[in-house]
């Protein structure tokens, strides 16, 4: 990958909301060049989407509940873990699935409105899958940092003196 592609991706990884005009100015390139780079990267599927990190707790009355579920499975002949992973990640309740080394196989992140709702999903859907041997569910109590962003970080005021040499 070219250096300017990396620079562009790093910029929009930090802020997907940057307008093309501004990206062009920051990178010292023309708007056309940047648009073309973006188009290429989208086509190559290097850019998979532009999502927004939201603190739902600030807008919804009820906080969303997240659970990290450690799942032990029996891999299927020929396709290993991929088939059962797919069975799991197709559920919209499931926000992330990772194959792990260590004591269990899949790490599954599940989101729901209440603990009951998540409990129901795990017992009725996830555990009920034939290849799932066991699940251990950990509910998230507080999010401190997510995807490199520190949440509840209200302390970002500039501590520098206004004019200095």
């Amino acid at each position: 990958m070219k250096e300017i592609e990396v620079e562009l991706l790093k910029l929009i990884e930090k802020n997907a909301n940057l307008k093309v005009e501004k990206i062009a100015k920051l990178m010292g390139k023309s708007i056309d060049e940047v648009s073309e780079l973006l188009r290429d990267l989208e086509e190559k599927k290097a850019i998979l989407g532009y999502s927004t990190l939201i603190d739902w707790a600030k807008v919804l009355d009820t906080e969303e509940v997240t659970a990290m579920v450690d799942v032990k499975v029996t891999p299927a002949r020929g396709v290993g873990f991929d088939k059962v992973a797919e069975r799991i990640y197709r559920f919209p309740e499931v926000k992330a699935v990772y194959l792990m080394s260590g004591a269990y196989d899949l790490s599954v992140s599940v989101k729901g409105k209440t603990m009951t709702e998540i409990g129901k999903f795990i017992s009725e859907k996830l555990s009920a899958l034939d290849s799932v041997l066991s699940t251990t569910t950990h509910f998230v109590l507080k999010r401190y940092k997510h995807d490199g962003i520190i949440l509840h970080d209200d302390d970002d005021d500039d501590k520098r003196i206004v004019v200095s040499p």
Partner: protein
Amino acid sequence: MKTTSYISRQVENLKPSGIRRFFDLAAQMDDVISLGVGEPDFVTPWNFIEQSFHALEQGYTSYTENAGMIELREEISNYLSGSFQLDYDPNEQLVVTVGASQAIDLALRTVVEPGDEVIIVEPSFVAYVPIVSLAGGTPITIQTKAEDDFKLKPEQIEEAITPKTKAIMLCNPNNPTGTFLNKEELQQLAKVIEKHDLLVLSDEIYAELTYDDNYTSFPSIEKMKERTILISGFSKAFAMTGWRLGYAAGPADIIAAMVKIHQYTMMCAPTMAQHAALEAMKNGRQSVQEMTESYKQRRNFIVSSLNEIGLSCPNPGGAFYAFPSIKETGLSSAEFAEQLLQEEQVAVVPGEVFGSGGEGYVRCSYATSIKQLDEAMERMKRFVEKRL
């Protein structure tokens, strides 16, 4: 008892810094977007801070050797050799100081005698002229010109030289202009410097922050190491202004003489800061690179915005300052800065505070978030449109 008469004439005669006056003005106002700040907007990288916590927990709360911890001097020596192809003996040719500021003070006090002239290249960092005066020397200023992109020309040195000239202060990249001198340009200066047997104080605190060209450290130029005191520090590239840590490297006899003053006036640089700097030297590359990339982007942004607004601004090769001309507005730099602050709550520093060559320009620091820069440019646009 009236105590004013007790203040030494020399200090009494020292002009208060123009920055200070402007600070007092800006500090009274709310909602100021400041482009007046001469330091990074980044907080010190966490691993440096954490290393300092660790050292404190381990009980490293006492003095260090006068010249600084030998481990740190060794790391600085490795860094100078790895990044700038310089070879300095950590035992004899390096001293760790309280900021580059103290290194400048030590160097000038070490070499200047009453009557000695020291050439200062303006627009310049505000401390050089007063420190030369305090050391008993006579500052001789040269004004670089906008049409030369504020680059010092060898002829200008020639013209300033008298039999009393002892040293020249260079700053590359320069504060406040952001001017960057490349290898060839430095070699041209070196010829004149050698011809007239001058000592060089080379302030390279912004050496890491260059955006287009490879950096050449002045003492790495042939025959210059033996006549150069290299001054640098952690404040800018490593985002460590508040830690107060810098260093000087140079000929062993000069460094030994500097350490003599240092041991009586300072004892040593702060211990906890030296530990943080040790981590910065060992594991700081990545952070410095990321910050540099971000400054470069913001430089591109501010320079093209200023030019769009109608404030002509050459592309500065380094540091984190843009130095646009405000002559088109018909205002002096002080008027421009004061009115901009009053009307639009944007703080910039009037060029005149950096010496007479700075009149007609203002210094805009782009070590500020893109969001703030964007807003500042909107406000400046409104301000300038009313006056063009």
